[in-house]
């Protein structure tokens, strides 16, 4: 049954043919990750030091402005700041003061660097240090960069978390613990915690947690399991603090989730039988939930344009568990630290790209006409207008898609556009 181990499966073991493109990119910058990070970490405030573009980007990417007063804002640079009429450092400090005054209960303020603040070399780290001193014990102030010149989309979370690592307390070698790294929807986090407990792995912590006041400790006894595939810098920062990175595919789909849990079970010497007893029911449930979508997705061709860094594991899931044929898989960047357990699982014959040249990647999908193109929000409708079916990738960041009990939901996200096509008798898709 589910003893079939993904990693020893017969997927192409050869390194994939990687084409690197250096053209126009249609990706969000790292500031976008504030949209989910501020929902996850509920006692923190994200203060972007940037331009009106930054403020506009975050509210546009979020789609709607639901919260009367969000836990993020932008300190918008003005002419007088740039002309040296105002001291930028003093100005940032003044704005932080405004934020603290409005929200006295904050535990963490993230000072988020942007393209303009990086270009004018505004030293946010230094400001963060100063404030941390001043509010010692009461308020953590952490600077990180979400700028587009340094980060893409989900990389903003990597930059945020890796800059929190130095603040994590030192844990001893005796403190044998599992650290799940990457923000997960609360419901998924709870499911995972229950399953680990059933298996007998009781010392499990999640990073980031729902409250930033308390940070988990890290040390030689810490094993880290990445819950998100874009956290290379965070993983390396934790490794440099003595932690061990467990190699595993990401928890997408029934098999992916099983292997992800298996990596933890193996590392904590959980008996095979106990592991199987704990995972059998949810695994079978996940497989059942995929059945209906499998009939809809099998044999369909899917292309991934570069966007969220989820492209490789999702292509693996769609190929292995839903029978789809990935034609092209492109990621903004490739990081072996995070992807080495995934790439061997991709079927052979996939065209694989790092970076982007927007016009040529659009030409490619126009020519190959896949059944489904997974792409950023800005280009979905233009492709639909040309008769192609698309899935906007940002939805993958906002929906619970990880774990056994979300496997069906994940497949459904890809099946829905195809279902819609088969229903509608208006307009023309090819």
């Amino acid at each position: 049954m589910h003893g079939a181990v993904l990693a020893s499966d017969t997927g192409s073991a050869e390194p994939l043919d990687l084409t690197v493109e250096h053209g126009q990119r249609a990706v969000f910058c790292g500031l976008t990750s504030i949209v989910w990070l501020h929902r996850k970490i509920q006692d923190a405030f994200f203060l972007v030091v940037g331009s009106r573009t930054c403020a506009h980007l975050i509210q546009s990417a979020a789609g709607v402005m639901i919260f009367a007063e969000p836990r993020f804002a932008t300190a918008v640079l003005e002419d007088r700041d740039l002309a040296g009429m105002a001291d930028c450092v003093e100005e940032v400090e003044r704005v932080i003061g405004q934020v603290i005054k409005r929200r006295p209960n904050l535990k963490t303020i993230f000072l988020v660097g942007s393209c303009p603040s990086e270009v004018i070399k505004l030293d946010l780290d230094n400001i963060a240090r100063k404030f941390k001193e001043r509010h010692k014990g009461q308020l953590r102030v952490v600077a990180y960069s979400g700028s587009g010149i340094e980060t893409t989309f989900t990389q903003g979370e990597d930059s945020c978390l890796s800059n929190l690592v130095p603040d994590m307390p030192q844990a001893s070698e005796q403190d044998q613990k599992l650290l799940i790294v990457g923000s997960l929807p609360d419901i998924v986090e709870d499911q995972f915690a229950r399953l680990f407990a059933e298996m007998g792995i009781t010392n499990v912590e999640f990073f980031p947690g729902r409250q930033s006041e308390y940070l988990p400790g890290v040390g030689p006894g810490t094993r880290i399991l990445l819950a998100q595939p874009y956290l290379g810098d965070t993983a390396r920062a934790l490794i440099s603090r003595g932690a061990t990175l467990l190699k595993a595919p990401y928890p997408y789909g029934a098999q992916g989730t099983l292997e992800w849990f298996r990596a933890a079970a193996l590392s904590f010497d959980i008996a095979v039988e106990r592991f199987q007893d704990c995972t059998r029911a949810p695994f079978e449930r996940a497989k059942r939930s995929l059945e209906v979508y499998k009939t809809e997705l099998a044999g369909r061709r899917v292309a991934f344009l570069p966007d969220s860094q989820l492209e490789i594991p999702l292509a693996r899931f769609l190929a292995r568990e839903c029978g789809m044929h990935p034609t092209e898989v492109a990621t903004p960047f490739y990081d072996a630290t995070t992807m080495s357990s995934e790439t061997p699982l991709l079927p052979s014959g996939v065209q694989w790209y790092e970076g982007q040249n927007l016009d040529s990647s659009l030409e490619r999908v126009r020519n190959s006409r896949p059944d489904l193109t997974v792409c950023g929000l800005g280009i979905a409708n233009p492709l639909e207008a040309e008769g192609l079916r698309t899935k906007w990738s940002i939805e993958l960041m906002f929906s619970p898609i990880q774990g056994f009990d979300q496997a069906g939901d994940l497949a459904e996200l890809f099946a829905r556009p195809l279902r819609r096509k088969s229903r509608l008798e208006v307009g023309a898709w090819n």
Binding site: G23, Q24, R25, A26, V27, F28, C29, G30, L31, T32, V49, S51, R52, T53, A55, H56, L57, Q59, S60, G63, V64, M65, I66, A68, E69, P70, F72, A73, T74, A75, V76, L77, E78, D79, D81, L82, A86, C88, V92, V95, Q98, C115, P116, E118, V119, I120, S147, G148, I149, T152, D359, G376, L377, G378, I379, A380, N381, P382, E384, A385
Partner: protein
Amino acid sequence: MELTLWTYEGPPHVGAIRVAASMSGVHLVLHAPQGDTYADLLFTMIERDGRRPPVTYTTFQARDLGGSTANKFLDTLRAAAAHFKPQVLMVADSCTAELIQDQPGSLATSAGLDVPVIPLEMAAYSRKENWGASETFYQLVAGLLRGASKADAFQQRQVNDRPSVNLLGPTKLGFRCRDDVLEIESLLNGVGIDVNVVAPLGASPHDLLRIPQADLNICLYPEVALSTCQWLKRQFNQPYIDTVPLGYGATRDFLIAVAEVLDHSINVDAIDHCRLPWYSRSVDSTYLTGKRVFIFGDATHAVAAARVASKELGFDVVGLGTYSRENARAVRSTASELGLEALITNDYLEVEEAVETLHPELVLGTQMERHIAKRLGIGCAVISTPAHVQDYPARYSPQMGFEGANVLFDTWVHPLVMGLEEHLLTMFRDDFEFNDSTVASHLAEESGSVERPQLSEESLADGLMWAQAAQKELKKIPFFVRGKAKRNTELFAVEQGLSTIEVETLYEAKAHFSR
């Protein structure tokens, strides 16, 4: 540095993209870092545009900053010119590129391309989206027409026998521009006036070259087109009118102004089939009298809304403001005519505070005010950008002209409790199925499943008490005016130095405030 939670306008280069996306045959090369491509989704998602805006972004990254960003710009420029073959190429910096000072304008003009290049200066750290659209439109029109002589333009104008006008200012992502243009075009055609060029929306660079052939420019959206109209007047002695036909009275004024400038007789009464005047006079509308309305938006829409609300629907305008500092003067003067002080601000929280303090029954605003109103349980209609996907409707829904006035009547009256319904609510308010916590059927959609916000039990002044009988009496007042009654009574009690509110106080206050 300005602490910004939500922003009413995007940066100026988004205004430039709006102009480019409105037209055919132009392409914008934007020197911008990775991430600035988010602007695409404003057009393709909010307005459901089926094509990407005609923009190529350089999307430079940190590794390009070591001096090669200028080369990256030139490579991108040449590739875009070859790939898109535009009639005119515009180039601009986004905020970050402005700091690197690669001067894309001079790079592009000296790049030896065989396409005209219009360089734009976007002043990202002092200006905003509407200014960017206005500047781009002006640079484009002036750049293409600077060489044309007055004599040429005049001669071309003589050829036409029917008077003709240009409609200037409508753009992509403007508020209902698509339908306003159709409405005004058919209005003018109906009185024997030709529309020569509509721009930027739907125009090509060749169309812009024909602008001087018209007898008159109609500045439909002053935020975008006023500086262009002023330049055309200076350059070609081409008159313009900036009476915006938003609302019933304004549409009539507009037609009269057009007739006057063109010396062309228009029988306004003969074409005035607007239903707003009768709908507003009909008995059911009596309940609209004195409804408290708060208005906030771009200057043009806010000023027009104030006139419609006060003179055509009989509302009380209790607050009026704009986020558009460049055009604040008109809003200030309209506000002072209404005995108000205009709220000129970019700060969403200030607007929210004003709405909370003023307790209007209706908010006319942008997408931001829609959220404020929703949170406070107040009816709202969107009248201005920034707007959300639902404000780009599939149906024909202009704001301008006589049909636009009909649309305004429906849209603004709809969120309010209807006349007869108001009485029924009072009659049935103790009915178990029809009580205060049940939201009116037509409001259920807006309020979702959220319960009607309960009136705070606390009074506004410390030490002020409500006697039990007075509390009970208060509950007999219909819920939609109860808040106002409570506030007024407490205000009155404080003024009178009372510490306990009795039933008497309630009615004393009622009499006091009804003077």
